[in-house]
Structure formats: structure tokens, C-alpha cells
Amino acid sequence: MNEAEAITRCLLGDAQAYGWVMREYKHLVHTVSLRVLRHREDAEEATQDAFVKAFQNLHAFQGGSRLSTWLYSIAYRTAVSKLRTRRKGEVSPEELPQGALPHMDSDATEAVDRKRALDHAIAELPQEDATVITLFYLHEQSVEEIVTITGLTASNVKVKLHRSRKRMLDTLQGLLKTELWTIREQ
């Protein structure tokens, strides 16, 4: 099944087709929620809400953007709304990456360590910057698409990308002693 077929079938009320859409995008949509909320349970709840909203508003999807961009924008808005609600009420502590901060030594080149280091570097960024850079790198969204998702201006997105990239590289360079970072200056 491809994306267009899935959307058509969803609009006809085919639940299985929506299951396909969810399976395709659930991890990426969840990542958007997690970047905004920084709390696993809240993010899972927001992801679920986002998929419900998306299904209920699928008729509004005009195909002017990628389905992924449309889903991410719903997820982003849902998570931000949840974040505001949370801030008004009980303040939930931000979840740092699970596990202790990686204590990198010379052989810290395992993928799991790199992932931990990356999670740590992302956690050190402000919420909006973390979301923007994740959308750019992991979700492979263009600046224009990030503008659509977040509602930020293009120049603001570029500034955030530049700033958070620099900050992450600094953090990661301190954590990962690998030649990976030597191409930073290129």
C-alpha cells in the first residue's frame, strides 16, 4: 500500500489503512512529541491524541504537503498544547535520557553510546531548538516544512538550526572522542 492509497482508503472509513499510516509514522510522530514534552508518558499520550486528531481531520489534508509534514504539525501542536496545560498545573520534571550520562572512554564508539551521547546533547538544547533540529535531521524536513510544522519564521528556524547544531557539536565533541567530529570544519 502506498501513501495516496492509504489516505483514500482512510477517507472511505478503512481502519486497516489508518493502521498502515500509524505503523509508518508512529515512531517519528512520537519523537516529535517527545522532543516537545520531554516526558515519555506525556509524549505517548500526545502521540495518541495526535493520531486521533489526524484521523478526524484527514478530510482537511489537501495533499499540498507531504503527509508526514501534516502529521508532524498536528503532533507538534498537540504536544505544545499539552505542554502549556502542564505548565499551568503541576510542573513535570524534564526527563533526561534514560541511563547515566555516558562516561566515554577511548572505545566509546559503540552505537549505543553514540545514541546516549546524542540524546544527552539534545536534552541540553531548549525544547524548541531540539524539536527543530530533530525535524531537520531525523525527519528530513526542509526549512520550509519546519516553518509549516512549528509556525516559526524561516529565518528563526535557520538561526535555531545553526545555533543548536553548533551547541550539539560542542557537547558531542566533549563526549565522543572520535574522528567523526573532525569534519565539523568542512
Binding site: G13, A15, M22, Q48, H59, L118, L161, W181
Partner: protein, 114 residues
Amino acid sequence: MNQNDPLRDLFLEAGPAQAAAGLEAAVLAQLAMERVSTPEKALIPRWAWIIAGVCWLALIFLPHPGAFPWEMPTLPHVSMTNGMRWTLGALACGVLLFAVDSMLQMRATRFRSY
């Protein structure tokens, strides 16, 4: 930011965060529950019944203002053949059924099966 960006490599290697295993089932269950818990609106809304009632009363009282239902005046007599009555009745039924069908279609939710 070029394709050889180390951050890009790291992000792609790490991949996305894992969503909850039962997400699809939870979403479909929530959609089904919301559909069940949404009360169906009456086919003909209350305001339409009120307007219909007012029109009916107006039909009775306007020819003779001040009259009571039990003093209902003789309504104008329209002479028509039996065939004409059946034709008009059939037409009226057809229009009524078409209107009901259209209203039901308009009110039908787009997503029926989940």
C-alpha cells in the same frame, strides 16, 4: 548543511524514539469509543418542529382569527379526481422520502468502520 554532516549520520543511526507498542490499538479504540459516545442528533431538530407547529396553528387560525380548534372553520374545498389524489399523494411521498434520504446522507459520518 551537507550530506556528510556528522550530526545527520548520528541522528539517522540513532533513529526515532520508539512509540508505545499498543499505539495503533489504543488509537482505534479511542476513535471507536468517541464514535459510540457521540449522541446522535435528532433527524429533525427541535426548532424545525416548533416552526412546523406554528405553521400548523397559523393554517388553522389565520382564516378566522380568534377561532378555537373546536370551532375550526371549513377549509377551502379543492375538487380533484381520485387519480389526481393518488398522483399528488405519491409525489408528496416521493418528495418526503427523498428529503429524508438526503438529510440522512448529509448527517452520516464519513468514517463508518473502525
